[in-house]
């Protein structure tokens, strides 16, 4: 069927959830420090932590490197958790 092909509408895309805030706090890193380490604005880290923005693969890998854990330990699709 046509509706099964191609990109899903934005409202039907799986939501990416993450553990950045949890891991960041456990590492004692502030939002600003993490932002500086990966080269983004501190607001962007906040948007990612709240799941309001999904980072690019490069940024996700940079965040994982700073937090010292594999990227799959940080990001997952919401349906996987459910």
């Amino acid at each position: 069927m046509l509706c099964d092909m191609g990109r899903k509408p934005k409202d039907q895309e799986e939501r990416v959830i993450n553990r950045i805030e949890e891991l960041r706090l456990a590492s004692g890193i502030s939002r600003q420090e993490l932002a500086d380490a990966v080269g983004v604005h501190y607001q962007t880290v906040g948007y990612i932590e709240r799941g309001e923005y999904s980072p690019s693969l490069v940024l996700a890998l940079q965040i994982a490197k700073v937090l010292g854990t594999p990227v799959e330990n940080i990001f997952s699709l919401e349906e996987e958790k459910n």
Binding site: G39, H41, Q43, Y47, I48, Y53, P55, S56, L59
Partner: protein
């Protein structure tokens, strides 16, 4: 050409702007949207103001520019800074903003063109020349009819997406 010293000054200004908290009051979503609506209305009212005299026009334009500069600070100039100063989320936000801003500007211009066309038909201008007398205030009204909206539309569009500290 911009000297290294000037480049450093620009970068320091942008760094301050990106970390500025003095406009947090204007970043509250309700406040930001209210200022955006007031700025958009002032931009549309400025040509009408000039038709009623220079003083009225300048007063309305001043309201527009005050709103515009508050919104620029509140949105950290994401709509206007060069790409190299923005991160990937800000670039994505700006891209989405400019699509919406283009649609808004195109709608305004198309609406104006259709209005002029219908007006020309309604006064039955087909067989005779239609003269418009333009004084300085009228010329300013025409200038601000375009200059106001094209100045504020990107920043107002971004601001209408809502703010957050």
């Amino acid at each position: 050409m911009v000297s290294a010293k000037d480049t450093q000054k620009i970068e320091e200004r942008i760094a301050r702007l990106q970390n500025d908290t003095s406009f947090d009051w204007a970043r509250k979503p309700a406040v930001q949207k209210s200022i955006a609506v007031a700025t958009a209305l002032a931009a549309l009212a400025t040509p009408v103001g000039f038709l009623n005299g220079s003083i009225t026009g300048v007063a309305v334009a001043a309201v527009m520019f005050v709103g515009y500069f508050i919104l620029r600070a509140a949105t950290r100039e994401v709509a206007e800074l060069p790409n190299r100063y923005l991160d990937e989320r800000e670039l994505a936000l700006r891209n989405a903003t400019y699509v919406k801003a283009y649609q808004t500007a195109a709608t305004l211009v198309a609406g104006l063109a259709v209005f002029m066309f219908i007006y020309a038909i309604s006064i039955d201008v087909a067989d005779e020349k239609f003269a418009i007398e333009l004084g300085f205030d009228q010329i300013q009204a025409v200038v601000w009819l375009f200059l106001g909206p094209i100045t504020v539309i990107p920043t107002v569009t971004l601001a209408l997406k809502g703010g957050r500290k």
